[in-house]
Symmetry: C2
Subunit: 245 residues, 2 copies
Amino acid sequence: MNPTIETILRHRSIRKYENRPLTEEQIRLIVQSAQAASTSSYIQAYSIIGICDPEKKKRLAELSGNQSYVETNGHFFIFCADLYRHQVLADMEGQDISMSLESTEKFMVALIDASLAAQNAAIAAESMGLGICYIGGLRNQLEEVKALLHIPERVIPLFGLTVGYPLQEGSVKPRLPLAHIYHEDSYHSDTEQLQLQLAEYNEVIRQYYEERTNGERRDTWTGQMAHMLARPTRMYMKEFVERSG
Amino acid sequence: MNPTIETILRHRSIRKYENRPLTEEQIRLIVQSAQAASTSSYIQAYSIIGICDPEKKKRLAELSGNQSYVETNGHFFIFCADLYRHQVLADMEGQDISMSLESTEKFMVALIDASLAAQNAAIAAESMGLGICYIGGLRNQLEEVKALLHIPERVIPLFGLTVGYPLQEGSVKPRLPLAHIYHEDSYHSDTEQLQLQLAEYNEVIRQYYEERTNGERRDTWTGQMAHMLARPTRMYMKEFVERSG
């Protein structure tokens, strides 16, 4: 196994960091790595906002559900789906492209582009010995985030990425069985088989939590998921996305 | 610079491969790497379909716009946004979660999850000396792809990923200026500044194409993009996504 795959497989989220900023060189390497990711038809439909201002970090931590590690870390990146520059270039080129920009297809393209870039950034940071955590909580109150960071139309902040020097070990969380995620030649949708795999996985998860909490937590994965999904969150998103073009 | 960042920065798409299948061990490492990516609230909302059957590969190549490298490669992976298993687990747990599953927020979560996983797979493959290419053309005719691979409701194929032993060098395509993609503390939406950066970038791209085509191709990036975006594609996507739940 090579060092890159070792880095990838060792991933765990880090939620406690030294209050020690990354160097400009580290930030540059992380952003360059993000940019090196594949991009659909060369469209490069994303932007990254790095937050240095402590006041803004504090406010973003509040907006993301009071997660202290959004405030205290080495650097906080925000990844955005971005078709604003395409609006600018269409004006330069005298073309009307609004129909494309407002399509579900281009929304998907921008989301995928931004996510591929973000994962490159995450792996690059981890390869330097830094810890990372994605912040989906950034989507809790996107209007406020947009106003705080002066984000224009056609740009949607998707998630944050905290990066920094780890102050905790973290632990690698067991994933669904490979046979459950990975299908060959056809999707295997046999419900009985899937339920068996999920029951097996539940045992793995139950043990994982028991060991880490001295038997106090006895969650299963299906229980956790059903509980979470029974409470729809961020239901304003459809309208928000449509309004952002 | 460490070997992982070197791998990341060396990325270029490979569109010609030996007709030599990956080993099971290589496929397993690639899928495990995909699974190691971060996942929103542990939701693991994606699946991967690997295509071995030559007939299916051939058909998928046709459906993706007759790209021969979809047919001839080491392995062809398809990444799907997947909330089908969550439907299955909700039934196990006796919960109604349809409102969550149909929300724009969960659609975004599944897209992001699948993309983070895919980029881990891509980097893992490249770190083994293999070449990769994302296949967005897979979205040209998704109904046909779904039928061919028996993909159930609540699962949306997003893109393909060809992996294999490269038969070409490929070349690293220059990205937008870092200052254009990366903002600090606020989004810099000043149109004049953006246009200047784009004009500079156009020069880089013009030179890139000129050098590679002995002066025959003289594209700019903004020209390419305006041309592409003036012709909306895959406009069936909104309806398709809504119908897939």
